[in-house]
């Protein structure tokens, strides 16, 4: 298991929604969403300030130091 704040793995370090997170090397966006519980949710993903379209989630592999944002819609005015 690769979890936030895990001290014992040697995986890849990314920043997810502003917080550090460890994950397996070459984790794809789709895998990250699955692990975070958003596999079937309507979200949008940005990696290093660039949108990763939904159609590319399955093929886009993350790299060390990537900054990932996962967003959704909430109430607002």
């Amino acid at each position: 298991m690769w979890r936030v704040g895990s001290r014992y793995n040697t995986g890849m370090h990314i920043t997810l929604n502003g917080s550090p997170r460890d994950c397996a090397p070459a984790t794809t966006v789709a895998q990250l969403l699955q692990e975070a519980g958003y596999g079937t949710r309507r979200v949008a993903v940005e990696v290093n300030h660039e949108i990763v379209p939904r159609s590319l989630h399955i093929s886009h592999a993350l790299a060390e130091g990537d900054q990932v944002e996962i967003v959704h819609a909430i109430g607002g005015g």
Partner: protein, 276 residues
Amino acid sequence: MALPADQDITMNIKTLDSADPLIIAGKSYGSRLLTGTGKYKDFDETRRATQAAGAEIVTLAIRRVNIGQDASQPNLLDALPPEEFTLLPNTAGCYNAVDAVRTCKLARELLDGHKLVKLEVLGDQRTLFPDVVETLKAAETLVADGFDVMVYTSDDPILAKRLEEIGCVAVMPLAAPIGSGLGIQNRYNLLEIIENAKVPIIVDAGVGTASDAAIAMELGCDGVLMNTAIAGARDPLLMAHAMKLAIQAGRAAFKAGRIPRKRFASASSPIDGTIG
């Protein structure tokens, strides 16, 4: 003199909305009341208030998901499905053009290529007044990128014109600070904006109660966007209903053409034939 039958008048009122649509980016809307979806108790209240307001265009915010906390929570888009409402993602909380543009791109991805956005770039947290310099920059970038931009701005007529010239599909001056409920603070600026505009002018922010919305419409605004005035009312559903009526009344009064203001009286009853 032939009097219009009551049913004709009723018919006219009923068809007013559909005969007098609000057109934004080529799409027609029957309702001129646009509502926000923030500050409600839950999604059920959000949906019921939106329905009571008769709103067809609803704003929403784009935010980070809370990792590990809300993955199974209900989603706003379940309560307000994109098939049923025109969603208007906003850039609320953005204080510079770069963040606002990023937010719009995320919204477009989230909503499967959706182009209509509400651009707001704020200047400071106390007033939430728009940062007009950053707003102009973001508007230029977004329009060039193919977005249909409805832009929140100050009630400055020159700036409103500039935003229209950039290619924004609607210009949305504030009536008063966001959430303040102070009502229309500068109706002469709004009038100037309205009279010079070729795109819809929608008052966005500052409305407190139904009469404020009616005044905006009587001035000739094409619509009003509000959130706090409804969501923060003691009875949000009843206020949503009141706002719907106010928007309709204000629009009808604008179309009907009000009498000029006069300083002295003008008798309503004929003077001829009085006894004595």
